[in-house]
């Protein structure tokens, strides 16, 4: 037991450095989070891959999958053995998990990037200004010309009409489910959830039976089918977004004597804005890639049809389908370019929405 004097003497720390010593301002290396630290894991991973390739060559076995599997197992084994030697099995296990997490992330991102590069590489062959200014009318099967003008216009009109209807309906439904919590909200939520799993061809069939069979194919019929598909996606995401807005904002607004609908319009929806934009993008992204319901309702054409309310209309997905099915090289190239345009459209849309929503909140000092 030390006396009070001892303790207070111990409180006096002398590091031997003067106050102006530059060493005092050198930041320590904290190493970062352990799951982020790949130091020392690269060599064993590379060795694992090398062993797998070597084995494949020496043993003369075939098959990409088996090579990959063997490479991963060998790499993990090297990581484990290598780290255990130095730091014990606890750290070794941590290293293996770290390596696996990195590997999974790399594979996921790699797959997407590879697909993008693949589509762009295949699609850029036919890419050019005329591709956007021409339709497929009067283009023979083996002609090199032709373009997607009619399909781009079709996609924009169909998805645009679908978004015009489905976004307000979805946001209002989400408000009903989470802000108003009306009597039938459980039933509505059940139906919305069930509808998220609705196969897209079913929505196409329904619109076909109720509308197209009587009034003929049209872009608006496709828009109706896409609306049915968008509503559950957007509603569900929007409801999740509203859930993230803390109740004390609503309470604060109600305590100021606000009516409930004004609380929603003036406080909740503005606070949820960036999330709601994401929700609508998810809905649009779903609709823009649908093929089957569009085929059943707008059919698809070779010629330009700017009127979505009358006669068959093309769409980028039906365009790709038509071109790729024809089987000759020029048309398959055109299909790839169509696919590329579709992917780029989704990417541009997503980036634009992110930009809009982030700029909106940062301008107010967040």
């Amino acid at each position: 037991m030390s006396s009070a004097t001892d303790v207070s003497t111990q409180m006096n720390i002398d590091s031997g450095l003067t106050a102006d010593d530059p060493r005092l301002d050198i930041p320590r290396n904290l190493g970062g989070s352990q799951l982020q630290n790949l130091d020392g894991l690269l060599l064993p991973i590379v060795s694992g891959i090398a062993v797998s390739l070597l084995a494949r060559f020496v043993l003369d076995w075939d098959g990409l999958m088996s090579t990959v599997v063997v490479a991963v197992i060998a790499a993990m084994a090297f990581v484990w053995v290598g780290t255990r030697e130095r730091s014990g099995s606890l750290v070794a296990t941590n290293s293996v998990v770290t390596a696996l997490v990195w590997l999974s992330g790399t594979v996921a991102i790699g797959a997407i990037v590879w697909m993008l590069v693949f589509v762009i590489e295949k699609g850029s062959k036919r890419f050019g200004l005329s591709y956007f200014t021409h339709d497929m009318a009067k283009v023979g099967p083996l002609d090199p010309g032709g373009g997607v003008l009619h399909s781009i216009v079709g996609t924009l009109e169909q998805v645009g009409i679908a978004a015009t209807f489905s976004i307000p309906i979805s946001v209002l439904t989400a408000v009903y489910l989470h802000e108003i919590r009306g009597r039938i909200s459980t039933v509505v939520r059940f139906i919305v959830n069930a509808m998220t799993g609705l196969p897209s061809i079913v929505s196409g069939l329904v619109v076909y039976a109720l509308w197209v069979s009587g009034h003929g194919y049209s872009g608006a019929a496709a828009a109706a089918a896409l609306t049915i598909l968008m509503i559950p996606t957007v509603t569900r995401t929007a409801e999740e977004i509203l859930r993230t807005i803390p109740d004390h904002y609503r309470e604060g607004a109600l305590a100021l004597g606000a009516q409930r609908w004004r609380v929603v319009v003036k406080v909740v929806l503005p606070a949820a804005r960036s999330g709601l934009i994401t929700a609508t993008i998810l809905g649009v992204a779903r609709a823009i890639g649908e093929t089957a319901p569009v085929r059943l309702t707008a059919l698809g054409t070779q010629a330009f049809n700017g009127n979505p309310f009358k006669d068959p209309q093309s769409n980028l997905t039906t365009f790709v389908w038509d071109q790729v099915r024809s089987g000759n090289a020029v048309q398959i190239e055109r299909a790839w370019t169509g696919a590329m345009v579709l992917v780029v459209m989704v990417l541009v849309l997503f980036t634009a929405a992110r930009f809009v929503s982030s700029r909106g909140s940062s301008s107010k000092g967040r």
């Binding site: 309470e251 604060g252 305590a255 606000a258 004004r262 406080v267 606070a271 107010k364 000092g365 967040r366």
Partner: protein, 269 residues
């Protein structure tokens, strides 16, 4: 039994609030039983007592926030001067505009600037919010925040410190010119310096509005309040009741009930 104090020294510009036999339930559970309390104009009334004794429920019944909880029920009456706020003559939003509230956690609206936050009460009742520079300044001065924010009224309210946010919430409540201001543990999330600024604000505001404040801080109750009510749950599962009320100095200096004496001196609770 009510405890309306005769404070003849003050000029009464605000209103008296009178709670009569307030009981409250959440579902089947009774959390508050027959609480009656008068809160005189131009005074600060502190509600004290251990956690879970129904202080917050009581204060939320004073401006009809209690009924927002789906399973909540209540009995009794609350009179703002001579009007029963549950009497049917006033709607709940009308009551809340007369009787403002500041919460435990500062909650300035995240999508609004400082200025918009002050005027939020107007915007939320459908009034135009252009102009009103004078009102914004008066409310922010009233809440003791003007000097800190006068050069950045268009910045986001969420960028302020916790104490500043809480004073912004007070300014927001003042913009509706309420007769009563209810404060539910307004300083419990704040540091001592911010707390002191808020307490000064409360002292200045008492000239204009009747203030009711819930606090767990005995020193704070002594510093800011003229009158005081002590809430207590006597046995587990029982509803909370008001054990004693009176002038704050008496409550702390010479309480009549032993339980009050024990509580204010920190011997239990």
């Amino acid at each position: 039994m009510t405890a309306v104090l005769d404070l003849t020294t003050t000029t009464r510009t605000s209103s008296t609030l009178r709670a009569e036999n307030l009981s409250a339930w959440f579902g089947k559970r009774k959390v508050l039983e027959r609480c009656s309390l008068g809160m005189a104009a131009n005074t600060v009334t502190a509600l004290i007592g251990p956690s879970g004794c129904g202080k917050s429920t009581f204060i939320r019944m004073l401006n009809r926030m209690h009924e927002l909880v789906p399973s909540a029920q209540m009995a009794g009456s609350v009179y703002l001067d001579d009007t029963d706020i549950y009497g049917g003559g006033l709607t709940a939003p009308e009551v809340r505009r007369e009787i403002g509230m500041v919460f435990q956690k500062p909650n300035p609206f995240p999508s609004m600037s400082i200025r918009q936050n002050v005027l939020a009460g107007l915007a939320l009742s459908g009034t135009r919010t252009s102009g009103h520079d004078e009102l914004v300044e008066r409310c922010l001065r009233g809440a003791g925040l003007w000097n800190e924010v006068k050069d950045r009224l268009n910045d986001n309210g969420a960028g302020l410190s916790g104490g500043q946010q809480q004073r912004l919430c007070i300014a927001r409540a003042l913009a509706l010119k309420p007769k009563v201001l209810l404060m539910d543990e307004p300083c419990s999330a704040l540091d001592p310096i911010s707390t002191r600024v808020i307490e000064q604000t409360i002292a200045e505001l008492a000239a204009e509005v009747t203030i009711v404040i819930v606090t767990h801080n005995m020193q704070q109750a002594q510093r800011v309040s003229n009158t005081c009510a002590f809430f207590l749950v006597e046995d587990y599962g029982q509803p909370g009741r008001i054990v004693e009320f009176g002038i704050t100095t008496d409550m702390f200096g010479n309480p009549t009930d032993q339980r009050t004496a024990d509580y204010v001196s920190g011997r239990f609770g």
